[in-house]
Homo-oligomer: 100 residues x 4
């Protein structure tokens, strides 16, 4: 035997061609997404913030608030924030298991 | 004014929702591609090599051969290959502008 | 000529070996960074939040506050926040060039 | 309690500062690697092929040959190669568990 059998050759070609079609559709969607962000930019919106919004909307409000509170606690501890901690962040500290 | 105007709010929401729909479709396609590779794996094909094939088929045969020849020249110079250079690789050396 | 000249061969080998040494040192540092995060995790810190802190500290406080305010404006417009906008976010709205 | 204890604050600061130092060193090495590739380019070498060489040298010769043979078998089955399979690629076919 010096090459793949005809049936395996056919399977291989079908697999590759399916994948290529799917890759093309995926690329077209990636282009559409980029265009949509550009359209938003043209309307005066900030693209970086929009991307952040899209990421944040995948999380629940509770999840977002917990993350935000923990970030505030760390930032406060490092002197990156002016003023006192918010009530949410204070509650986060109370639940933390940090090193003593 | 303490918040975005109603029209801008509406635009923002439409933009974000469009992007989210496109992102979902893109994710579904990424899942389909992964499934297709898994199906190929189940048939006995090597996924890493299939991915390489998909990359290579985006290039012309000439482009592939030139890249392959150049790689062969470098590998030969570094002692990574047994035997002499192929005719294609020799031709590549003749065209190279390498430091003397 | 059937291969690279001796001088080019030598240069090629030196280049590749230099790059490999640098890549090794870079990989060792990546490992050190991962170890440091694991150590922090062992002390009770949240790794994801630590990574966010490292990113945020590369920015000035002004830059961080502007980004945070804009994010708050967009989140508020999308109904992702309870309560009114903060004073900073209101100021951000006043400076925005959003579509009408 | 309204904030992290002093000892945890100190640990947090030390962790973050260690990570930042390591990140800086890592970035400096990434810059050195980029400079080295640019230097190689200035000497007439092809950067893309050099990167491929660096990847390939992490593998054993046996591993490289097996991958190359399998790639050749698939490319041949897809009509991407002129001429017959090499002896190595024929041997690879004999060992393959491909779909019938």
């Amino acid at each position: 035997m010096t090459t793949l059998q005809a049936s395996a050759q056919k399977q291989l070609r079908q697999m590759i061609e399916s994948i290529e079609r799917l890759e093309e559709e995926k690329k077209a969607l990636a282009d559409d997404i980029r265009d949509k962000y550009n359209e938003a930019k043209g309307l005066g919106f900030d693209v970086k913030t929009l991307r952040q919004i899209v990421r944040l909307r995948k999380k629940s409000q509770t999840e977002r608030q917990e993350e935000e509170s923990l970030l505030e606690v760390y930032m406060h501890a490092l002197g990156m924030l002016d003023g006192p901690l918010s009530a949410d962040a204070e509650a986060a500290v109370d639940h933390m298991i940090a090193a003593e």
